[in-house]
């Protein structure tokens, strides 16, 4: 396959995970440090179901998303009622526990050596359509009262409660959707790279997604997606040795966040209305 398409599939799949982090951390200010574990769970569960159990790809993905949603529910139950930093801590612990599980349950997961021989089922079409659908879903979510509730909770939780918002339920919904999205991204990645290993899903991966969200702009879906594509593409295009590459990458992020604390795009959103208007005007000119 063309190198750029291979890179593109990876970016598309990871961007779906970034969408999850955008909802959770960007919109709601909830710092999950174990978000990558959901990607790992999605990847491992769907891969094992397809390779070892022989289930169809779609069914396997669905099951992995359901399991991740259920786990998110349980983790949320234990951590979303209490102080915000406890949520970060509990999700962090959850992430470490999941990785330990991948590493130790060798008979099923292959342990530290990883799980290989996954069929290549993630076609370019599937990856790009999935990302488009993912963006559409989050866009729809943001056009409802959930965006207002998110911003309200992020800026003043007590006032949000008193205004009648069930803060716990809201956070739970967001956490579950984010987990399901991330799990889906994990499945796509697993059937793209055809190999998974525990260390891909550590807290540093999670933190990378958080950085991407703030780089692009936590208040802009467009910004987050552009940031995601730029930052995920950068390592592939910058042809230095890895370490220099990451240093340059970090430097860019530091500069952007220092100079433009609201992120690359601030609150600006791409909207199709001006384009449509332009189109209409042209039509009128023609007629």
């Amino acid at each position: 396959m063309d190198f750029y398409i291979v890179v593109g599939i990876g970016i598309a799949a990871n961007s779906i995970a970034v969408l999850g982090t955008f909802m959770l951390t960007g919109m709601n200010g909830l710092f999950s440090l174990g978000q990558a574990a959901f990607m790992g769970l999605g990847a491992y569960i769907s891969a094992i179901l397809v390779v070892n159990v022989g289930l169809p790809f779609a069914v396997a993905i669905l099951i992995s998303m359901l399991i991740c949603s259920a786990l998110a529910f349980l983790v949320g139950l234990a951590s979303l009622r209490i102080r915000q930093d406890f949520f970060a801590l509990v999700t962090f612990g959850f992430g470490q526990a999941v990785i330990a599980f991948f590493q130790e349950y060798v008979s099923v997961t292959g342990g530290a050596l990883g799980f290989s021989n996954i069929p290549n089922l993630t076609t370019p079409t599937l990856a790009f359509v999935s990302l488009a659908v993912g963006i559409f879903l989050v866009w729809g979510f943001r056009r409802s009262h959930f965006l207002r509730d998110s911003l309200a909770i992020r800026s003043n939780e007590l006032a949000a409660k008193v205004a009648g918002i069930n803060v716990f339920k809201h956070k739970m919904i967001v956490f579950i959707i984010a987990a399901a999205l991330t799990a889906y991204a994990g499945s796509l990645m697993a059937f793209h790279t055809r190999y998974v290993e525990p260390k891909m899903y550590g807290w540093i991966t999670t933190v990378t997604w958080i950085i991407i969200v703030f780089f692009g702009g936590r208040d802009s879906l467009t910004g987050t997606m552009v940031g995601s594509i730029l930052l995920l593409m950068a390592p592939e295009l910058l042809r230095f040795t890895t370490a220099y590459r990451i240093i340059l990458y970090c430097a860019i992020i530091l500069i952007i966040i220092n100079v433009r604390p609201k992120g690359l795009f601030g609150t600006w959103e791409l909207s199709i209305k001006p384009l449509l208007r332009l189109f209409k005007r042209k039509k009128q000119e023609v007629s």
Binding site: S79, F86, I247, I253
Partner: protein
């Protein structure tokens, strides 16, 4: 496990816990003053660990100068981090979350600097940095490295308590931890206080980096041990350094105990379970400072 073995594990656990306590307190000082989780502390710790390593392997310095070099490096790097990653955002009165984002970015950046200089291999401090390896008391054989880390930690904590209780700058840091606005209204230069806090936190980070490097091994990812500080600082309770230190020692003991019973593999699972149990039982943390949003 017989009694001797348990005693041995307790010593190991305490020394591991002591290093965690140093890491956690260095981490918590910044949490208290600036109210965000400063993961760049891990980078500070990593650079200092390698500075100590260079001092001992290239220049054959002995233990105490090595620790001092680690401490000074830590302070310098911490202040540099403050300049690069936090100063601008602070000046623009940016939201706290941006500190978090730049701090993790700094952690990655410092890690990669180590990769460039030392490659991503494991290094160890020179074997003869600590001459005597074990002290034998009857059947008990106690690692000298562990005892020394324990001793250094106690000295470092003694100094820290002195700084916080007796010196002007220490009291100013404590005041700023409590209420930054009022502190600045009292005519204290909060910019200086923040730098001082980074110096103190960096010194703690430097010492802990060297000790952690000596008692385990060095790799550029060594800084990621900062998560132990994060865990302890959340569990310890808001604003209480003592609570944080206690939580860190408990974490060290539990880890060593788990490794010797169920092995290192599944211990994160058990720690996760314990963490949840603890948060459900004592949501106010070890120190018991409860926190209510004032309406």
């Amino acid at each position: 496990m017989d009694l001797i073995e348990i005693f041995q594990q307790v010593i190991n656990g305490l020394s591991r816990g002591a290093i965690y306590a140093l890491i956690a307190v260095g981490f918590a000082i910044i949490v208290n003053v600036l109210k965000f989780s400063n993961f760049a502390h891990g980078g500070v710790l990593g650079i200092s660990a390698y500075a100590g390593y260079l001092a001992s392997s290239q220049f054959n310095l002995s233990f105490i100068p090595v620790v001092l070099i680690g401490m000074v490096t830590g302070a310098i790097v911490a202040v540099l981090v403050e300049f690069i990653a936090f100063r601008w955002i602070r000046m623009q009165k940016g939201q706290l979350v941006y500190f978090f984002v730049t701090s993790v970015t700094m952690l990655m950046l410092l890690e990669q600097i180590l990769v460039i200089r030392f490659g991503s291999f494991f290094d160890t401090y020179p074997y003869d940095l600590i001459k005597v390896k074990f002290i034998n008391i009857g059947e008990l054989s106690i690692s000298v490295t562990y005892l020394i880390s324990l001793a250094v930690t106690i000295v470092a904590f003694g100094l820290l308590i002195y700084v916080f209780k007796k010196t002007k700058i220490g009291i100013a840091i404590r005041a700023a931890s409590n209420d930054m606005t009022t502190t600045s209204l009292m005519g204290i230069n909060t910019g200086m206080v923040i730098i001082a806090a980074f110096v103190v936190s960096g010194m703690m980070g430097g010492i802990s980096g060297v000790l952690f490097g000596i008692s385990t091994s060095l790799s550029p990812q060594i800084g990621q041990v900062v998560v132990k500080g994060f865990i302890a600082s959340v569990l310890g309770g808001l604003g209480s350094l003592t609570g944080v230190a206690v939580a860190a020692v408990a974490l060290g003991l539990i880890e060593v105990f788990l490794v010797s019973t169920i092995g290192s593999g599944y211990s994160p699972v058990v720690i996760f379970a314990l963490m949840i149990a603890f948060l459900l039982l004592r949501p106010q943390g070890f120190a018991g400072v409860s926190f209510t949003d004032k309406a």
